[in-house]
Protein backbone atom coordinates (compact mmCIF):
# COMPACT_ATOMS: atom_id res chain seq x y z
CA UNK A 1 0.00 0.00 0.00
CA UNK A 2 2.86 2.34 0.81
CA UNK A 3 4.18 1.89 -2.73
CA UNK A 4 0.88 3.06 -4.14
CA UNK A 5 0.87 5.97 -1.70
CA UNK A 6 4.36 7.16 -2.53
CA UNK A 7 3.70 6.93 -6.26
CA UNK A 8 0.49 8.89 -5.67
CA UNK A 9 2.47 11.61 -3.93
CA UNK A 10 4.99 11.69 -6.77
CA UNK A 11 2.17 12.06 -9.27
CA UNK A 12 0.77 15.00 -7.35
CA UNK A 13 4.18 16.69 -7.27
CA UNK A 14 4.53 16.21 -11.04
CA UNK A 15 1.08 17.72 -11.56
CA UNK A 16 1.77 20.72 -9.37
CA UNK A 17 5.13 21.56 -10.97
CA UNK A 18 3.61 21.34 -14.44
CA UNK A 19 0.76 23.65 -13.48
CA UNK A 20 3.12 26.31 -12.19
CA UNK A 21 5.55 25.95 -15.10
CA UNK A 22 2.83 26.48 -17.70
CA UNK A 23 1.22 29.38 -15.86
CA UNK A 24 4.40 31.44 -15.37
CA UNK A 25 5.32 32.07 -19.05
CA UNK A 26 1.70 33.02 -19.74
CA UNK A 27 1.98 35.77 -17.14
CA UNK A 28 5.56 36.71 -18.09
CA UNK A 29 6.00 36.03 -21.86
CA UNK A 30 9.49 35.14 -23.12
CA UNK A 31 9.26 35.61 -26.89
CA UNK A 32 10.96 32.63 -28.61
CA UNK A 33 10.53 32.48 -32.40
CA UNK A 34 9.42 29.60 -34.69
CA UNK A 35 10.13 28.73 -38.35
CA UNK A 36 7.51 27.67 -40.89
CA UNK A 37 7.30 23.97 -41.82
CA UNK A 38 6.35 22.44 -45.16
CA UNK A 39 2.94 21.06 -44.30
CA UNK A 40 1.79 24.47 -43.10
CA UNK A 41 3.17 26.12 -46.22
CA UNK A 42 1.19 23.69 -48.41
CA UNK A 43 -2.08 24.60 -46.72
CA UNK A 44 -1.32 28.28 -47.07
CA UNK A 45 -0.45 27.83 -50.76
CA UNK A 46 -3.72 26.07 -51.51
CA UNK A 47 -5.72 28.91 -50.01
CA UNK A 48 -3.47 31.51 -51.61
CA UNK A 49 -3.70 30.01 -55.12
CA UNK A 50 -7.46 29.49 -55.11
CA UNK A 51 -9.02 32.13 -57.37
CA UNK A 52 -11.21 34.99 -56.15
CA UNK A 53 -14.89 34.33 -55.46
CA UNK A 54 -14.48 30.56 -55.48
CA UNK A 55 -16.81 28.79 -53.12
CA UNK A 56 -14.97 26.82 -50.45
CA UNK A 57 -16.16 24.64 -47.58
CA UNK A 58 -14.99 25.13 -44.01
CA UNK A 59 -16.06 22.17 -41.95
CA UNK A 60 -15.88 22.61 -38.18
CA UNK A 61 -15.43 19.05 -36.99
CA UNK A 62 -14.47 19.70 -33.40
CA UNK A 63 -15.92 20.83 -30.12
CA UNK A 64 -14.93 23.11 -27.25
CA UNK A 65 -12.57 20.50 -25.84
CA UNK A 66 -10.01 21.06 -28.62
CA UNK A 67 -10.65 24.71 -29.33
CA UNK A 68 -7.36 25.88 -27.82
CA UNK A 69 -5.58 24.27 -30.76
CA UNK A 70 -8.15 24.45 -33.53
CA UNK A 71 -9.76 27.84 -32.95
CA UNK A 72 -6.59 29.82 -33.81
CA UNK A 73 -6.34 27.79 -37.05
CA UNK A 74 -9.96 28.44 -37.90
CA UNK A 75 -9.49 32.16 -37.31
CA UNK A 76 -6.26 32.39 -39.28
CA UNK A 77 -7.59 30.39 -42.22
CA UNK A 78 -10.91 32.22 -42.35
CA UNK A 79 -8.98 35.47 -42.23
CA UNK A 80 -6.84 34.28 -45.15
CA UNK A 81 -9.82 33.01 -47.18
CA UNK A 82 -11.74 36.27 -46.75
CA UNK A 83 -8.72 38.34 -47.68
CA UNK A 84 -8.58 36.31 -50.93
CA UNK A 85 -12.32 37.06 -51.40
CA UNK A 86 -13.33 33.43 -51.24
CA UNK A 87 -16.90 32.56 -50.36
CA UNK A 88 -17.10 30.29 -47.38
CA UNK A 89 -19.75 27.64 -46.87
CA UNK A 90 -19.61 26.80 -43.17
CA UNK A 91 -20.76 23.39 -42.05
CA UNK A 92 -19.94 20.99 -39.25
CA UNK A 93 -19.79 17.24 -38.84
CA UNK A 94 -19.76 17.71 -35.05
CA UNK A 95 -22.83 19.18 -33.38
CA UNK A 96 -20.91 21.81 -31.42
CA UNK A 97 -18.96 22.75 -34.51
CA UNK A 98 -21.37 25.48 -35.55
CA UNK A 99 -20.87 27.29 -32.25
CA UNK A 100 -17.12 27.16 -32.82
CA UNK A 101 -17.68 28.57 -36.31
CA UNK A 102 -19.82 31.36 -34.99
CA UNK A 103 -17.13 32.41 -32.52
CA UNK A 104 -14.41 32.26 -35.18
CA UNK A 105 -16.41 34.37 -37.63
CA UNK A 106 -17.02 36.97 -34.92
CA UNK A 107 -13.28 37.30 -34.34
CA UNK A 108 -12.43 37.45 -38.04
CA UNK A 109 -15.13 40.05 -38.71
CA UNK A 110 -13.00 42.50 -36.77
CA UNK A 111 -10.43 42.37 -39.61
CA UNK A 112 -13.01 42.12 -42.41
CA UNK A 113 -15.94 44.32 -41.43
CA UNK A 114 -17.31 44.31 -44.99
CA UNK A 115 -18.15 40.62 -45.29
CA UNK A 116 -21.86 39.88 -45.42
CA UNK A 117 -23.88 36.82 -44.66
CA UNK A 118 -25.17 35.02 -47.73
CA UNK A 119 -22.69 36.78 -50.02
CA UNK A 120 -19.35 35.94 -48.44
CA UNK A 121 -20.24 33.21 -46.00
CA UNK A 122 -23.17 31.08 -45.06
CA UNK A 123 -23.95 28.80 -42.12
CA UNK A 124 -25.36 25.52 -43.38
CA UNK A 125 -25.51 23.84 -39.98
CA UNK A 126 -24.45 20.56 -38.48
CA UNK A 127 -24.77 17.43 -40.58
CA UNK A 128 -25.11 14.06 -38.94
CA UNK A 129 -23.77 10.73 -40.20
CA UNK A 130 -20.32 11.97 -41.26
CA UNK A 131 -19.08 10.16 -44.31
CA UNK A 132 -22.58 9.36 -45.51
CA UNK A 133 -23.44 13.06 -45.55
CA UNK A 134 -20.26 13.90 -47.48
CA UNK A 135 -21.03 11.25 -50.06
CA UNK A 136 -24.47 12.73 -50.48
CA UNK A 137 -22.90 16.20 -51.00
CA UNK A 138 -21.02 14.74 -53.93
CA UNK A 139 -24.30 13.80 -55.53
CA UNK A 140 -26.44 16.79 -54.66
CA UNK A 141 -25.59 19.56 -52.22
CA UNK A 142 -29.11 20.87 -52.05
CA UNK A 143 -30.37 17.55 -50.75
CA UNK A 144 -27.89 17.59 -47.89
CA UNK A 145 -28.42 21.27 -47.17
CA UNK A 146 -32.08 21.95 -47.91
CA UNK A 147 -31.75 25.33 -46.19
CA UNK A 148 -29.28 27.35 -44.17
CA UNK A 149 -29.52 27.73 -40.41
CA UNK A 150 -31.98 30.58 -40.54
CA UNK A 151 -34.23 28.67 -42.93
CA UNK A 152 -33.33 30.36 -46.23
CA UNK A 153 -33.78 27.86 -49.04
CA UNK A 154 -30.58 26.63 -50.68
CA UNK A 155 -31.41 28.07 -54.09
CA UNK A 156 -32.14 31.47 -52.57
CA UNK A 157 -28.63 31.85 -51.18
CA UNK A 158 -26.73 34.10 -53.61
CA UNK A 159 -23.24 32.62 -53.18
CA UNK A 160 -24.42 29.04 -53.71
CA UNK A 161 -26.21 29.57 -57.01
CA UNK A 162 -23.47 27.90 -59.04
CA UNK A 163 -22.73 25.16 -56.55
CA UNK A 164 -24.50 21.92 -57.30
CA UNK A 165 -22.17 19.25 -55.98
CA UNK A 166 -18.85 18.96 -54.20
CA UNK A 167 -17.15 19.20 -57.58
CA UNK A 168 -18.08 22.89 -57.74
CA UNK A 169 -16.21 23.58 -54.52
CA UNK A 170 -12.63 24.84 -54.81
CA UNK A 171 -11.42 23.10 -51.69
CA UNK A 172 -12.64 21.64 -48.46
CA UNK A 173 -11.01 22.72 -45.23
CA UNK A 174 -11.78 20.40 -42.36
CA UNK A 175 -10.71 21.41 -38.89
CA UNK A 176 -11.09 18.16 -37.09
CA UNK A 177 -10.27 16.52 -33.81
CA UNK A 178 -11.51 13.01 -34.53
CA UNK A 179 -14.22 11.08 -36.34
CA UNK A 180 -15.93 12.26 -38.44
CA UNK A 181 -13.35 14.70 -39.73
CA UNK A 182 -10.47 15.07 -42.18
CA UNK A 183 -10.24 11.34 -42.83
CA UNK A 184 -13.87 11.17 -43.90
CA UNK A 185 -13.47 14.22 -46.13
CA UNK A 186 -10.43 12.61 -47.76
CA UNK A 187 -12.23 9.33 -48.29
CA UNK A 188 -15.51 10.71 -49.57
CA UNK A 189 -14.68 14.11 -51.08
CA UNK A 190 -11.09 13.91 -52.34
CA UNK A 191 -10.92 10.22 -53.27
CA UNK A 192 -14.31 10.13 -54.96
CA UNK A 193 -14.92 13.62 -56.34
CA UNK A 194 -11.35 14.94 -56.51
CA UNK A 195 -12.19 18.04 -54.54
CA UNK A 196 -8.95 19.14 -52.87
CA UNK A 197 -9.07 18.62 -49.14
CA UNK A 198 -6.92 20.42 -46.61
CA UNK A 199 -7.28 20.97 -42.93
CA UNK A 200 -6.02 21.31 -39.45
CA UNK A 201 -6.05 18.92 -36.59
CA UNK A 202 -4.77 18.54 -33.07
CA UNK A 203 -1.11 17.68 -32.73
CA UNK A 204 -2.14 14.25 -31.54
CA UNK A 205 -4.13 13.30 -34.61
CA UNK A 206 -1.60 14.76 -37.04
CA UNK A 207 0.78 11.77 -37.28
CA UNK A 208 -2.12 9.51 -38.22
CA UNK A 209 -3.12 11.85 -41.04
CA UNK A 210 0.33 12.67 -42.41
CA UNK A 211 0.36 9.55 -44.64
CA UNK A 212 -2.46 11.23 -46.61
CA UNK A 213 -0.20 14.17 -47.40
CA UNK A 214 1.45 12.17 -50.16
CA UNK A 215 2.34 12.46 -53.82
CA UNK A 216 -1.32 11.99 -54.79
CA UNK A 217 -2.21 14.91 -52.52
CA UNK A 218 -5.01 13.06 -50.80
CA UNK A 219 -4.55 15.87 -48.35
CA UNK A 220 -3.14 19.29 -49.29
CA UNK A 221 -0.85 19.90 -46.34
CA UNK A 222 -1.92 19.72 -42.76
CA UNK A 223 -1.89 22.02 -39.77
CA UNK A 224 -0.96 20.00 -36.71
CA UNK A 225 -1.43 21.63 -33.35
CA UNK A 226 -0.69 25.03 -31.92
CA UNK A 227 2.74 25.31 -33.50
CA UNK A 228 1.30 25.02 -36.99
CA UNK A 229 -1.35 27.56 -36.05
CA UNK A 230 1.32 30.03 -35.00
CA UNK A 231 3.21 29.31 -38.23
CA UNK A 232 0.07 30.10 -40.21
CA UNK A 233 -0.27 33.33 -38.29
CA UNK A 234 3.30 34.14 -39.33
CA UNK A 235 2.45 33.44 -42.99
CA UNK A 236 -0.51 35.83 -42.98
CA UNK A 237 1.38 38.39 -40.90
CA UNK A 238 -0.91 38.38 -37.94
CA UNK A 239 0.06 38.09 -34.29
CA UNK A 240 -2.73 35.91 -33.03
CA UNK A 241 -3.38 33.92 -29.92
CA UNK A 242 -1.28 30.98 -31.11
CA UNK A 243 2.01 32.87 -31.16
CA UNK A 244 1.63 34.02 -27.59
CA UNK A 245 1.08 30.52 -26.29
CA UNK A 246 4.18 29.01 -27.82
CA UNK A 247 6.43 30.13 -24.95
CA UNK A 248 4.44 28.21 -22.39
CA UNK A 249 4.68 25.25 -24.74
CA UNK A 250 8.42 25.30 -24.89
CA UNK A 251 8.77 25.51 -21.12
CA UNK A 252 6.37 22.62 -20.64
CA UNK A 253 8.32 20.53 -23.15
CA UNK A 254 11.55 21.14 -21.29
CA UNK A 255 9.89 20.27 -18.03
CA UNK A 256 8.62 16.96 -19.39
CA UNK A 257 12.16 16.14 -20.52
CA UNK A 258 13.32 16.87 -16.99
CA UNK A 259 10.63 14.54 -15.69
CA UNK A 260 11.90 11.78 -17.98
CA UNK A 261 15.43 12.35 -16.69
CA UNK A 262 14.23 12.33 -13.08
CA UNK A 263 12.28 9.13 -13.68
CA UNK A 264 15.38 7.46 -15.06
CA UNK A 265 17.57 8.57 -12.18
CA UNK A 266 15.01 7.21 -9.77
CA UNK A 267 14.84 3.88 -11.63
CA UNK A 268 18.64 3.66 -11.73
CA UNK A 269 18.90 4.23 -7.99
CA UNK A 270 16.23 1.61 -7.30
CA UNK A 271 18.15 -0.87 -9.45
CA UNK A 272 21.39 -0.15 -7.61
CA UNK A 273 19.70 -0.58 -4.28
CA UNK A 274 18.30 -3.91 -5.38
CA UNK A 275 21.72 -4.99 -6.62
CA UNK A 276 23.45 -4.12 -3.36
Amino acid sequence: MSVVNSSQTERRIVFLILLVAVALPLIFPIGWKTGVTNYTKMVWELVESTPDSSVVIFSFDYDPSTMTELQPMAEAMLDHAFSRHQKVLVTALWPQGMQMADQAIKVVKAYHPDITYGQDYVFMGYKVAGIVAIQAMGKDMEQVFPADQSGTKYKDIPMLREVKTLKDVAYVNSLSSGTPGIKEWVMAARDVYHTPVTGGTTAVSAPGLIPYVNSQKQLYGLLGGLKAASEYETLINRVGSATVKMDAQSVAHLLILLFIAAGNIKALRARKRRAS
Partner: protein, 232 residues
Protein backbone atom coordinates in the same frame (compact mmCIF):
# COMPACT_ATOMS: atom_id res chain seq x y z
CA UNK B 1 -37.47 -15.28 -38.76
CA UNK B 2 -36.40 -13.30 -35.71
CA UNK B 3 -32.79 -13.93 -36.57
CA UNK B 4 -32.48 -14.94 -40.18
CA UNK B 5 -34.45 -12.07 -41.65
CA UNK B 6 -32.27 -9.41 -39.97
CA UNK B 7 -29.20 -11.30 -41.17
CA UNK B 8 -30.58 -11.23 -44.68
CA UNK B 9 -31.16 -7.47 -44.39
CA UNK B 10 -27.57 -6.97 -43.26
CA UNK B 11 -26.37 -9.06 -46.18
CA UNK B 12 -28.56 -7.22 -48.66
CA UNK B 13 -27.55 -3.72 -47.50
CA UNK B 14 -23.86 -4.58 -47.32
CA UNK B 15 -23.80 -6.08 -50.81
CA UNK B 16 -25.77 -3.14 -52.16
CA UNK B 17 -23.19 -0.67 -50.88
CA UNK B 18 -20.27 -2.65 -52.29
CA UNK B 19 -21.90 -3.22 -55.66
CA UNK B 20 -22.86 0.42 -56.04
CA UNK B 21 -19.24 1.37 -55.44
CA UNK B 22 -18.32 -0.31 -58.71
CA UNK B 23 -21.45 -0.08 -60.85
CA UNK B 24 -22.40 3.38 -62.02
CA UNK B 25 -25.58 2.19 -63.73
CA UNK B 26 -29.04 2.69 -62.32
CA UNK B 27 -30.69 1.47 -60.10
CA UNK B 28 -27.59 1.16 -57.92
CA UNK B 29 -26.58 4.78 -58.08
CA UNK B 30 -30.03 5.78 -56.79
CA UNK B 31 -30.61 3.07 -54.19
CA UNK B 32 -27.49 3.93 -52.30
CA UNK B 33 -28.62 7.52 -51.77
CA UNK B 34 -31.87 6.34 -50.25
CA UNK B 35 -30.05 3.92 -47.98
CA UNK B 36 -27.74 6.65 -46.73
CA UNK B 37 -30.61 8.97 -45.98
CA UNK B 38 -32.44 6.27 -44.02
CA UNK B 39 -29.27 5.56 -42.09
CA UNK B 40 -29.28 9.12 -40.75
CA UNK B 41 -32.91 8.95 -39.66
CA UNK B 42 -32.60 5.59 -37.89
CA UNK B 43 -29.51 6.73 -35.99
CA UNK B 44 -31.49 9.78 -34.91
CA UNK B 45 -34.12 7.58 -33.30
CA UNK B 46 -31.51 5.37 -31.66
CA UNK B 47 -30.20 8.27 -29.61
CA UNK B 48 -33.40 8.48 -27.59
CA UNK B 49 -32.80 4.92 -26.42
CA UNK B 50 -29.66 5.80 -24.50
CA UNK B 51 -31.27 8.76 -22.79
CA UNK B 52 -34.08 6.56 -21.53
CA UNK B 53 -31.54 4.12 -20.12
CA UNK B 54 -29.68 6.95 -18.37
CA UNK B 55 -32.91 8.30 -16.94
CA UNK B 56 -34.00 4.91 -15.66
CA UNK B 57 -30.69 3.99 -14.04
CA UNK B 58 -30.35 7.33 -12.26
CA UNK B 59 -33.94 7.17 -11.08
CA UNK B 60 -33.51 3.71 -9.62
CA UNK B 61 -30.31 4.75 -7.83
CA UNK B 62 -32.13 7.69 -6.27
CA UNK B 63 -35.13 5.60 -5.27
CA UNK B 64 -32.95 3.00 -3.59
CA UNK B 65 -30.96 5.74 -1.86
CA UNK B 66 -27.68 4.24 -3.06
CA UNK B 67 -24.54 5.87 -1.68
CA UNK B 68 -24.06 9.20 -3.38
CA UNK B 69 -27.67 9.28 -4.59
CA UNK B 70 -27.70 13.02 -4.18
CA UNK B 71 -25.13 13.32 -6.98
CA UNK B 72 -27.28 11.22 -9.27
CA UNK B 73 -30.17 13.51 -8.46
CA UNK B 74 -28.02 16.47 -9.52
CA UNK B 75 -27.22 14.62 -12.75
CA UNK B 76 -30.86 13.88 -13.42
CA UNK B 77 -31.89 17.46 -12.71
CA UNK B 78 -29.25 18.91 -15.00
CA UNK B 79 -30.32 16.48 -17.72
CA UNK B 80 -33.95 17.57 -17.40
CA UNK B 81 -33.04 21.25 -17.21
CA UNK B 82 -30.93 21.19 -20.39
CA UNK B 83 -33.54 19.13 -22.22
CA UNK B 84 -36.46 21.34 -21.22
CA UNK B 85 -34.81 24.69 -22.00
CA UNK B 86 -33.58 23.21 -25.28
CA UNK B 87 -37.06 22.14 -26.31
CA UNK B 88 -38.83 25.26 -25.08
CA UNK B 89 -36.59 27.98 -26.49
CA UNK B 90 -34.42 26.07 -28.90
CA UNK B 91 -30.73 26.44 -29.61
CA UNK B 92 -28.70 29.31 -30.99
CA UNK B 93 -30.03 28.85 -34.53
CA UNK B 94 -33.40 27.22 -34.12
CA UNK B 95 -36.41 28.32 -32.14
CA UNK B 96 -38.19 25.91 -29.81
CA UNK B 97 -41.80 25.46 -28.78
CA UNK B 98 -41.96 28.99 -27.31
CA UNK B 99 -40.05 30.49 -30.21
CA UNK B 100 -36.76 32.23 -29.49
CA UNK B 101 -37.58 33.62 -26.04
CA UNK B 102 -36.25 37.10 -26.76
CA UNK B 103 -37.03 38.51 -23.30
CA UNK B 104 -35.23 35.65 -21.65
CA UNK B 105 -32.32 36.13 -24.03
CA UNK B 106 -32.06 39.77 -23.04
CA UNK B 107 -31.83 38.96 -19.34
CA UNK B 108 -29.47 36.02 -19.71
CA UNK B 109 -27.32 37.40 -22.51
CA UNK B 110 -28.01 34.23 -24.51
CA UNK B 111 -30.65 31.57 -24.88
CA UNK B 112 -30.93 29.42 -21.73
CA UNK B 113 -29.62 26.42 -23.67
CA UNK B 114 -26.58 28.32 -24.90
CA UNK B 115 -26.06 29.84 -21.47
CA UNK B 116 -25.77 26.36 -19.98
CA UNK B 117 -23.57 25.32 -22.88
CA UNK B 118 -21.15 28.22 -22.47
CA UNK B 119 -20.88 28.32 -18.71
CA UNK B 120 -21.35 24.72 -17.64
CA UNK B 121 -20.88 22.28 -20.49
CA UNK B 122 -17.93 24.01 -22.12
CA UNK B 123 -15.73 24.49 -19.01
CA UNK B 124 -16.49 20.93 -17.91
CA UNK B 125 -15.57 19.48 -21.27
CA UNK B 126 -12.46 21.60 -21.76
CA UNK B 127 -11.15 20.99 -18.23
CA UNK B 128 -11.75 17.26 -18.46
CA UNK B 129 -9.76 17.24 -21.68
CA UNK B 130 -7.00 19.37 -20.21
CA UNK B 131 -6.32 16.71 -17.57
CA UNK B 132 -4.39 15.08 -20.40
CA UNK B 133 -1.56 17.58 -19.99
CA UNK B 134 -0.99 16.31 -16.46
CA UNK B 135 -1.36 12.69 -17.42
CA UNK B 136 1.07 12.93 -20.31
CA UNK B 137 3.64 14.35 -17.90
CA UNK B 138 3.10 11.62 -15.33
CA UNK B 139 3.13 8.92 -18.03
CA UNK B 140 6.44 10.25 -19.37
CA UNK B 141 7.92 10.38 -15.87
CA UNK B 142 6.85 6.83 -15.08
CA UNK B 143 7.18 4.93 -18.35
CA UNK B 144 10.14 6.34 -20.29
CA UNK B 145 12.74 4.34 -18.42
CA UNK B 146 15.85 2.81 -19.98
CA UNK B 147 15.12 -0.92 -20.00
CA UNK B 148 15.03 -3.06 -23.13
CA UNK B 149 16.18 -2.10 -26.60
CA UNK B 150 12.58 -1.51 -27.72
CA UNK B 151 11.72 0.74 -24.79
CA UNK B 152 14.92 2.70 -25.39
CA UNK B 153 13.89 3.30 -29.01
CA UNK B 154 10.54 4.54 -27.76
CA UNK B 155 12.14 6.88 -25.27
CA UNK B 156 14.87 8.28 -27.52
CA UNK B 157 12.54 9.12 -30.38
CA UNK B 158 10.11 10.68 -27.94
CA UNK B 159 12.86 12.89 -26.51
CA UNK B 160 14.06 13.95 -29.97
CA UNK B 161 10.57 14.84 -31.13
CA UNK B 162 9.66 16.63 -27.90
CA UNK B 163 12.76 18.78 -28.30
CA UNK B 164 12.35 19.24 -32.04
CA UNK B 165 8.79 20.46 -31.77
CA UNK B 166 9.61 23.54 -29.73
CA UNK B 167 11.38 26.75 -30.50
CA UNK B 168 13.94 25.68 -27.92
CA UNK B 169 15.04 22.59 -29.88
CA UNK B 170 15.97 24.76 -32.82
CA UNK B 171 18.11 27.04 -30.67
CA UNK B 172 19.82 24.11 -29.00
CA UNK B 173 21.27 22.75 -32.26
CA UNK B 174 21.54 26.00 -34.22
CA UNK B 175 25.36 25.68 -33.99
CA UNK B 176 25.35 22.53 -36.17
CA UNK B 177 26.88 23.60 -39.54
CA UNK B 178 24.66 23.92 -42.62
CA UNK B 179 26.21 20.85 -44.30
CA UNK B 180 25.10 18.67 -41.38
CA UNK B 181 21.77 20.38 -40.93
CA UNK B 182 20.06 16.99 -41.00
CA UNK B 183 21.21 16.61 -37.41
CA UNK B 184 19.55 19.80 -36.25
CA UNK B 185 16.76 18.76 -33.91
CA UNK B 186 13.76 20.16 -35.82
CA UNK B 187 14.99 18.52 -39.04
CA UNK B 188 15.76 15.26 -37.32
CA UNK B 189 12.36 15.15 -35.72
CA UNK B 190 10.68 15.97 -39.05
CA UNK B 191 12.68 13.15 -40.64
CA UNK B 192 11.48 10.71 -37.99
CA UNK B 193 7.90 11.84 -38.43
CA UNK B 194 8.08 11.63 -42.21
CA UNK B 195 9.84 8.32 -42.76
CA UNK B 196 10.05 5.75 -39.96
CA UNK B 197 6.85 7.04 -38.36
CA UNK B 198 4.95 7.05 -41.65
CA UNK B 199 6.19 3.53 -42.36
CA UNK B 200 4.87 2.16 -39.08
CA UNK B 201 1.62 4.09 -39.36
CA UNK B 202 1.17 2.69 -42.85
CA UNK B 203 1.81 -0.84 -41.64
CA UNK B 204 -0.80 -0.40 -38.92
CA UNK B 205 -3.27 1.14 -41.37
CA UNK B 206 -2.77 -1.57 -44.00
CA UNK B 207 -3.07 -4.48 -41.63
CA UNK B 208 -5.99 -2.94 -39.75
CA UNK B 209 -7.70 -2.32 -43.08
CA UNK B 210 -7.33 -6.02 -43.84
CA UNK B 211 -8.83 -6.79 -40.45
CA UNK B 212 -11.71 -4.43 -41.16
CA UNK B 213 -12.29 -5.90 -44.62
CA UNK B 214 -12.35 -9.39 -43.10
CA UNK B 215 -14.67 -8.43 -40.24
CA UNK B 216 -16.99 -6.55 -42.58
CA UNK B 217 -17.11 -9.52 -44.90
CA UNK B 218 -17.95 -11.82 -42.00
CA UNK B 219 -20.73 -9.46 -40.92
CA UNK B 220 -22.16 -9.22 -44.42
CA UNK B 221 -22.04 -12.97 -44.89
CA UNK B 222 -23.67 -13.50 -41.51
CA UNK B 223 -20.73 -15.40 -40.01
CA UNK B 224 -20.20 -12.68 -37.42
CA UNK B 225 -23.55 -12.20 -35.70
CA UNK B 226 -22.85 -11.75 -32.02
CA UNK B 227 -24.16 -8.17 -32.19
CA UNK B 228 -27.66 -9.53 -32.69
CA UNK B 229 -27.55 -11.49 -29.43
CA UNK B 230 -29.11 -14.83 -28.63
CA UNK B 231 -32.28 -16.41 -29.95
CA UNK B 232 -33.98 -16.57 -26.59
Amino acid sequence: MKRNLPLFFAFFCGILVIVSEFIPHRPFSMLIDTLQNWFMIISGFAIILGQISLFQSNLSKIKQKESGWIFYLAGLLSFCLMLIVGLLWGTQETGGIFGHGLKLQASLGAKPFDYLFDFAYMPLSATMFSLLAFFIASAAYRAFIIRSFESNLLMITAVIVILGRTSFGGMLTAWVPESYKFWQLPNLSDFIMEFPNSAAQRAIMISAALGIIGSSLRIILGIERSYLGSDK
